[in-house]
């Protein structure tokens, strides 16, 4: 327990675990949106808004991004001055570009969801506000023809957002582990895996989507290659560092060679988060796999793994200076 506290209270760490939670939430939001758009366009037959996974996305994607940004704002030393980050722009700053990206992503996400869930939205509005806000329905109808374009834009924004969390860290020359071109790609795929896990967990367990419907099957089938590719990316990530020599090698060895964070990585990120779900899916029977508790455990492990990966990258990354 003491090593646990020590590991999380290192004085050199400017960005701590709460930033990892933000990275996780933003990534999950982006991942869910990517999956939902694909499902809506290619897999789901009938009204997409009736699908449990789409419903889960409608709740969790905005939740992830809003909570993530709230965390960010309160992590500033001057939370009340957060508006300054919106009005001042620095084109060389990845964070400044990220702020714009976040705003556009949120706007497009809300519009897309409004178009998708027009009936539900109007029902809610009618119930609480009456018919004063019926013009919203008219606006949505105006936007409706642009839905296809909205989806394409949102998909691009989601991929960019997932990669952004990686670029944010890979821009740091200070830390060899973070200053790594594989990082944004790794984060895109860990976003997808967390998105898939969250879609299944909430789509099936909360919104009662049948486990035998095509969309759930597709996400299930999609999970395994994503995790495998994630493992491959981790291999690229660390072999690249080790073969790079010097401080890169030192940083990689300090991170996964020995110590608290090595245990965290091998047992938590790789073991619990990636290998265990893969193995469990491989060895269990079809029947067990379709029980709710099994689904909850496997998706829970995946989500935990992604959160642990983000935490690991953040802490182990800030451990070794160039």
């Amino acid at each position: 327990m003491n090593t646990f506290i020590e590991a999380f209270s290192g004085e050199a760490v400017v960005w701590d675990w709460i930033i990892a939670v933000y990275l996780f939430l933003a990534g999950m939001s982006a991942g869910m949106v990517m999956i939902a758009i694909y499902l809506k366009r290619k897999v789901i037959e009938g009204r997409a808004a009736d699908n449990g996974i789409i419903k889960a996305t409608a709740i969790l994607a905005p939740f992830g991004i809003v909570v993530g940004l709230t965390i960010l704002v309160f992590h500033l030393t001057k939370p009340l001055a957060f508006w300054k980050i919106m009005i001042y722009v620095n084109t060389t700053s990845i964070m400044s570009m990220g702020v714009i990206l976040f705003n556009v992503y949120m706007a497009v996400l809300f519009v897309w969801l409004a178009v998708l869930f027009k009936d539900e939205l109007l029902n809610i509005l009618n119930k609480f506000v009456g018919d004063k806000l019926n013009f919203i329905g008219l606006i949505i109808d105006k936007i409706k023809p642009l839905e296809n374009m909205l989806e394409v834009i949102l998909a691009v924004l989601a991929v960019t957002l997932a990669a952004y969390t990686g670029f944010l860290l890979s821009a740091l020359k200070t830390f060899p582990l973070l200053n790594n071109p594989v990082l944004p790609v790794l984060f895109v795929f860990s976003s997808l895996s967390s998105g898939a896990a969250a879609s299944l967990m909430f789509g099936v367990l909360v919104f009662k989507q049948s486990m035998h419907c095509p969309s759930v099957k597709w996400v299930h089938g999609f999970e395994r290659p994503v995790v495998m590719f994630e493992l491959f990316l981790l291999l690229c990530f660390f072999s690249g560092l080790i073969l790079g020599g010097g401080q890169k090698e030192a940083a990689a060895m300090a991170a996964i060679g020995a110590g608290f964070w090595a245990g965290w990585f091998w047992i938590g990120v790789v073991g619990l988060g990636m290998l265990l779900p893969l193995i469990l899916n491989f060895v269990t029977s079809e029947q067990t796999r379709h029980t709710s508790s099994f689904l909850f455990m496997v998706t829970g492990l995946s989500l935990l793994g992604v959160l642990m990966l983000r935490t690991f990258i953040l802490y182990a990354g800030q451990m070794t200076v160039v």
């Binding site: 001042y88 964070m95 200070t174």
Partner: protein, 226 residues
């Protein structure tokens, strides 16, 4: 153009006054008159540094830096050798005033900036929101959050204190062994350029392309740790 006797007298007086000052004390700001863009830099002579940390103290007082944080630190390594010939090595850790500063590039609000007239990297405290991106982006790890303002803070060569008053930075003025030389790198006749030309100097982490303006003279005790 007419030149009255009075003007002439004032003129000569001014010339005597200015030249007089520079000759009396060589430790005032080399170029007070504005003659184009400056590129202020510093030399830290670790062979002259005795590790007394007076510079840190002087900086703290001049720039109101609270205890617990510091814009400037002298680090000591050693001991090297046996009694009575034990030696230590001293190094200065402070803002390197990079021409290509990572902190400036990453700052989302532009609070971190390089002053075009002096080449000094500074922080506009009011614009800073405290995201900490510059703290992690600085490869020299010299930035910190000011405990009172919450803004990112670091050495600015006393730009708003001593330099503004026409004096040398506090650390330079306070150093008992003259281990610090401050001046305009754009001026070929400046003391700093002479010191750089006449000594073997190095800069930290130049391979990162940061183009730092803090030069260091090695102490002649073993390998240089860049």
């Amino acid at each position: 153009m007419s030149c009255t006797r009075r003007d002439l007298l004032i003129g000569t007086g001014a010339i005597i006054f200015t030249t007089g000052i520079t000759s009396v004390s060589s430790r005032t700001l080399a170029a007070v008159m504005s003659d184009g863009k400056k590129r202020y830099g510093m030399v830290f002579d670790s062979s002259a540094c005795i590790g007394c940390t007076k510079c840190t103290e002087a900086c703290r007082e001049t720039n109101n830096v609270p205890e617990g944080v510091s814009r400037l630190e002298i680090t000591r390594s050693g001991p090297i050798g046996e009694h009575p010939d034990v030696k230590y090595r001293f190094d200065r850790t402070s803002c390197q005033h990079c021409d290509n500063a990572p902190c400036v590039h990453v700052c989302p609000t532009g609070a971190a900036y390089k002053d075009q007239a002096t080449g000094i990297v500074d922080v506009e405290a009011d614009k800073c929101v405290g995201c900490g991106y510059c703290l992690v982006a600085c490869p020299y790890q010299v930035r910190f959050f000011h405990p009172e303002t919450g803004s990112a803070d670091k050495c600015n060569f006393c730009r708003d204190t001593n330099l503004k008053a026409g004096k040398l930075p506090a650390c330079v003025l306070s150093c008992p062994t003259n281990a610090l030389v401050f001046g305009d790198l754009n001026d070929p006749d400046s003391e700093i350029n002479k010191v750089i030309a006449n000594n073997t100097v190095y800069r930290n982490k130049v391979e990162l392309g940061t183009q730092p303006k803090l030069y260091k003279i090695a102490d002649g005790k073993g390998e240089i740790k860049r």
